[in-house]
């Protein structure tokens, strides 16, 4: 009898893992296909308000204070990412114009089914709502060919609403967001974006699902004034 109970427990545990993994890697087709003209509202139902994880809160707070503008901390990241700023492949950059980039990256080239990469990028452009432009200049036959284009391109006609944020999905992006799906939104005179690389283990639909979840659970972190910091 004990053995049977143990077996059942293992099966239940495997089932639970399958559910968790399925949720993490599961297919999700929201907005993948159609371009209706109306604004789509994403379900915000949840068990409680999202919270910036305690371990990362300090890093996001420092960033906000450094750029003197609010930043958005993800309370959820796609598996297996961790939101630590000091992770092996993770990092942040801040440009002189106070715009920032925070990236979290997982990469494993040695898996049986081929390399796997999970890469998300968070950006903010304080005091600037214009889409950034990327330098795609190339050298062809000895000649430098200057070519500048929007860093975020091919917007979907439907905007998605996540609480107060009305975001546009861009499907062709440049720079650190190349190969990524990207949501960008304007808020209080600033532009923000969240993007994720479309690459195994996640399909296009799963990346979109991940992005929606990240967008739903972003936490706004206000800068501390100099006296507080």
């Amino acid at each position: 009898m004990k053995r049977r109970i143990a077996t059942v427990a293992v099966v239940v545990a495997i089932g639970a893992i399958a559910v968790v993994v399925g949720a993490a890697f599961g297919s999700w087709a929201w907005g993948a296909d159609d371009e209706p003209s109306a604004v789509a509202t994403v379900d915000e139902s949840g068990s409680g308000p999202p919270v910036c994880p305690r371990a990362e809160r300090v890093s996001w707070q420092k960033l906000a204070t450094r750029i003197k503008a609010p930043v958005y901390c993800p309370s959820w990241l796609p598996y297996p990412l961790e939101g630590r700023f000091d992770g092996v492949f993770n990092g942040q950059t801040v440009d002189p114009d106070r715009s920032y980039l925070v990236k979290f990256l997982y990469f494993d080239a040695g898996l049986p089914g081929g390399p796997q990469e999970v890469h998300v990028v968070f950006r903010g452009y304080p005091g600037n709502t214009r889409l950034p432009r990327c330098d795609n200049s190339t050298v062809e036959d000895g000649k430098v060919v200057h070519h500048f284009s929007p860093c975020f391109s091919d917007p979907k006609a439907t905007k998605a609403r996540f609480g107060s944020k009305l975001a546009t999905l861009y499907t062709s992006n440049q720079g650190a967001d190349q190969w990524h799906l990207l949501y960008a939104w304007r808020e209080n005179g600033s532009l923000y974006s969240v993007s994720e690389h479309v690459a195994p283990p996640y399909t296009y639909g799963q990346v979109l699902h991940n992005l929606n979840r990240m967008m739903r659970t972003l936490v706004r972190v206000q800068p501390r004034n100099a006296a507080q910091s």
């Binding site: 190339t138 050298v139 284009s149 391109s153 062709s172 479309v198 296009y204």
Partner: protein, 464 residues
């Protein structure tokens, strides 16, 4: 024919879905079958973005084979009679429109060399234009070459015969393939079966390419625009972009000397190739303007997400314009780079008496998307690097008057201009049309005889 090939001919595989995903458009037959095998009657014309578009058959299949026939005249006579009877029965059963079945039988150089070498030497038309350019006699049918952007792995095939089946109904194609390759057991060793689809979205639906790619789980499938005729998102069968009526016949434009008895008059040349398309890169890296630039011409201004971009005679690029684009942007467009060789430079009266105005397209394309990897079935899995997981690609089928005419167009796509000068690009450059997201796996040229000589051409003539 082997059991495995017979099973593959009968199987629809993932393409069975295509029959459920698209409704066959209305087709109207207008008359008797033309003497040309490659012309299909009843092609519907729709207007998209104020551009006339030809609606191709939804489903396509190409079967390639080697012959099992003995080289003796008696064996060839029997084979010719058997094949002709089978084809005639198909013509009685199906109308000559996409609602029925289009069958085009094309023959490769190995057939002409092995079975009818003497007759071919006498009757295979000489390509006057190519002969003059190259300073030696060139026939209308030559072996294909690897083009500058082809990888070294591109396989140059040597099939005896290829048969193209086209229809809006998969079961018509299956019936045709069975009649030719299964019922005529003993004539052919099938080497490959290639299947695919095109269109299906002109009446408002999502289109077969998007639906099929999504069903197959192809990376980038979700980003194929709604209603696209092909995976890459742009309409490719606009009327002005395809050669009209008999322009691709061997004899029409006078490129070739068809000889005193004009045996191959009303025939044409067919190039068959397969290439993979990297849809994820196409849609995630190239934005809409990039896709327009590389598909048509650099900096072409069209409204966002236009799927049918006008390519009429007034939109055609000259060689000088292509060179100017290269000088300025180090970039050429796919269509733009080909147009100096694929469109008529001046008003031309064809041998059929038709006035073809300057800017008229010559090639008649019959290409179709596929999920084959690289073929639906192959007799040689290792040689063809067959994999049984779906992959986005294109079976490229095009009719030109001669092998050389196709070669000129394809070289232009790689930046080799009509005068032979080369526009130079770095390895992997995105400046050379959309070649950077394509990878060609197989190529072969074929001759398409007129309908009257479609079965074992020249074999009825003595004198090998």
């Amino acid at each position: 024919m082997g059991g495995a090939a017979a099973s593959a001919l009968a199987a629809a595989g993932i393409y069975e879905l295509a029959d459920r995903m698209a409704t066959a458009p209305p087709r109207v037959a207008t008359g008797a079958r033309p003497p040309e095998q490659h012309l299909l009657d009843g092609i519907r014309v729709v207007t998209d973005n104020d551009v006339e578009v030809l609606v191709p058959p939804l489903h396509h299949q190409v079967v390639t084979a080697k012959l099992r026939v003995d080289e003796s005249p008696a064996a060839l006579d029997d084979a010719r009679q058997s094949l002709e009877e089978a084809l005639a029965r198909l013509e009685q059963r199906f109308e000559a429109t996409p609602a029925g079945l289009g069958v085009t039988v094309a023959w490769g150089l190995p057939y002409f060399h092995r079975y009818v070498a003497g007759q071919a030497a006498a009757h295979l038309p000489i390509d006057r234009r190519a002969s003059e350019t190259r300073g030696r006699e060139v026939r209308v049918l030559e072996d294909s070459i690897r083009f500058p952007t082809d990888p070294p792995s591109t396989r140059l095939e040597s099939n005896d015969v290829a048969v193209l089946f086209r229809s809006d109904a998969l079961d018509h194609i299956a019936a045709g393939a069975k009649a030719v390759f299964d019922d005529l057991d003993g004539l052919f060793d099938v080497t490959s079966i290639r299947k695919g689809f095109v269109g299906g979205g002109f009446d408002g639906g999502p289109g077969l390419p998007k639906q099929m790619a999504k069903a197959a789980g192809i990376d980038g499938a979700d980003l194929i625009p709604h209603g696209s005729e092909l995976f890459l998102g742009f309409t490719s069968t606009q009327k002005a972009g395809l050669g009209p009526s008999r322009i691709a016949n061997i004899e029409t434009l006078g490129y070739a000397d068809v000889g005193a008895n004009a045996y191959f008059a009303q025939g044409t040349h067919m190039h068959l190739s397969h290439l993979f398309e990297d849809l994820a890169a196409w849609y995630l890296i190239f934005d809409f303007q990039d896709r327009v630039d590389t598909t048509f011409r650099p900096r072409l201004d069209v409204p966002q997400y236009t799927r049918t971009v006008p390519q009429g005679p007034d939109d055609v690029q000259s060689a000088a314009e292509v060179v100017r684009d290269y000088a300025r942007y180090r970039q050429i467009g796919h269509s733009g780079s080909i147009q100096p060789t694929s469109r008529l430079e001046r008003d031309t009266v064809g041998r059929d008496g038709t006035l073809y105005p300057r800017g008229t397209a010559v090639p008649q394309r019959a290409d179709f998307n596929t999920l084959d990897n690289p073929f639906f079935w192959t007799a040689d899995v290792g040689r063809d690097e067959y994999v049984d997981t779906p992959a986005a690609g294109l079976h490229f089928v095009v009719f030109n008057p001669t092998s050389d005419d196709f070669r000129r167009n394809r070289l232009a796509m790689d930046g080799v201009m009509p005068n032979g000068s080369r526009l130079r690009f770095g390895t992997g450059s995105t400046g050379r049309g959309f070649n950077s997201i394509l990878r060609t796996t197989h190529r072969q040229n074929f001759l398409v005889p007129p309908r009257v000589h479609r079965s074992f051409p020249l074999s009825e003539i003595q004198g090998r």
